[in-house]
């Protein structure tokens, strides 16, 4: 999921950087004092999640958790995920510093879209219904990220469909796991801390 330095054309890297900067600015404006701790916790979860490898056959994939971050943070997912990505690049060498912008965009934009589509739904109805929508949102964010990665590669010269298929199918297991994780996280939060979602329901 992390595109490395040198894999993309300069135009894509530059465009991604500008778009990510815009998203981060929007996120910082929407990040009020009550939600800073939530953003910090989700940023840390995202940072660590990439180290949790799920063995699938001879290979393995890692968790991303961007759907959960998006559902809880909305636009504020941009700064939270940016911080996580920056530290992953510096500490673990995942991705790289020049492609930080496009990686942030690829991971945070689907998270934000998941919030736009499913954010209101998870606060409504019974906790079970909310969890179902949360799960869909979690899976949707991963699918969106695979599409964004494939699009970035396509704009840099790779053929879109083979690249998209490759990334999408490799991340099907992650999609299922993250949908379950997001679903149960929403279920738990709806039961023990329902006020976390009231903002979403009103907004």
């Amino acid at each position: 999921m992390h595109i490395v330095d040198g894999a993309l054309s300069n135009a894509v890297v530059l465009g991604g950087g500008i778009a990510a900067a815009g998203g981060i600015a929007m996120g910082l404006r929407s990040l009020d004092i009550d939600r800073i701790p939530t953003a910090g916790v989700l940023s840390a979860s995202f940072f660590v999640a990439s180290l949790i490898h799920v063995p699938i056959g001879p290979s393995s994939v890692h968790l991303i958790l961007n759907g959960l971050a998006g559902l809880l943070l909305g636009w504020a997912a941009f700064p939270a995920l940016f911080v996580g990505l920056l530290l992953q690049a510096v500490f673990f060498g995942f991705g790289g510093l020049t492609v930080l912008g496009i990686n942030t965009l690829n991971i945070a934009l689907p998270a934000m879209l998941a919030w736009l589509i499913f954010g209101r739904l998870i606060g409504r109805g019974t906790p079970g219904q909310g969890a179902l929508w949360g799960g869909l949102g979690g899976g949707f964010a991963i699918a969106g990220t695979t599409a964004m990665v494939a699009l970035s590669l396509a704009l840099s010269g790779d053929a879109f469909l083979p690249a998209a298929k490759l990334v999408f199918f490799a991340h099907l297991p992650v999609m299922v796991i993250e949908a379950l994780l997001a679903g149960f996280a929403v279920l738990l939060a709806r039961k023990v801390k329902p006020e976390l979602f009231t903002r979403n329901a009103i907004a």
């Binding site: 992390h2 490395v4 701790p37 490759l166 297991p173």
Partner: protein, 195 residues
């Protein structure tokens, strides 16, 4: 449902690990440049094409990795060699061997080539010295080959170790996040108190 799961599993099985860091390294190996290519989790890139370019960007040649992710390239000019491979899905490996090292390989290879031919015929007693030299040369090559094979797993282990993320690194990263968001919290709180 079970069939669906099976199909999904089969679809995923042949794909390379997409979510890992790419590792690549090159080192002198006799009269050739040997390199290895793979992912940080130990999956090696088999059958991947490696494009070799010079410092001016001109293509010097291509080579294909074997099933262990190793590739060989015999240099012809003492210039910096850049090896680049596309492992798909945004994973690109690029590694350069500086000109001095390539020159060292060429220097080591030049005297070795003429001596590689004679040992086919049993040498008469008259030129036993030459035979000795040839024997020494073949023995030297065999030893070099054996040493290379011996240190190969070590080299791979070191590469894997370098990619290893220990608890301190992870805790350090989390510490940075806590500090950063704490700073944000402080700034937001100060703004609220002032306003």
């Amino acid at each position: 449902m079970r069939h669906l799961f099976l199909i999904t599993a089969l679809l995923c099985a042949p794909l390379p690990a997409l979510a890992h860091k790419v590792v690549a390294g090159v080192f002198p190996s006799g009269d050739a440049i040997e390199g290895e290519l793979g992912f940080s989790n130990g999956d090696m890139a088999a059958g991947t094409e490696v494009v070799v370019t010079g410092p001016d960007g001109a293509e010097l040649g291509r080579t294909i990795t074997d099933e262990d992710g190793f590739f060989l390239f015999v240099p012809t000019a003492p210039v910096a060699h850049t090896f680049r491979a596309d492992l798909g899905a945004g994973h690109v490996a690029e590694v350069t061997m500086p000109a001095e090292e390539v020159a060292g390989i060429l220097g080591a290879a030049a005297p070795a080539t003429p001596e590689a031919e004679p040992p086919a015929a049993p040498a008469p007693a008259a030129d036993a010295g030459a035979s000795m030299a040839a024997l020494a040369e073949t023995r030297r090559r065999a030893i070099a080959e054996a040493v290379r094979n011996e240190i190969r797993p070590l080299r791979r282990e070191i590469a894997a170790y370098r990619e290893h993320n220990d608890l301190q690194t992870i805790l350090g990263g989390i510490g940075y996040i806590v500090g950063l968001f704490g700073l944000g919290f402080y700034l937001a709180a100060r703004r609220r108190l002032a306003g």
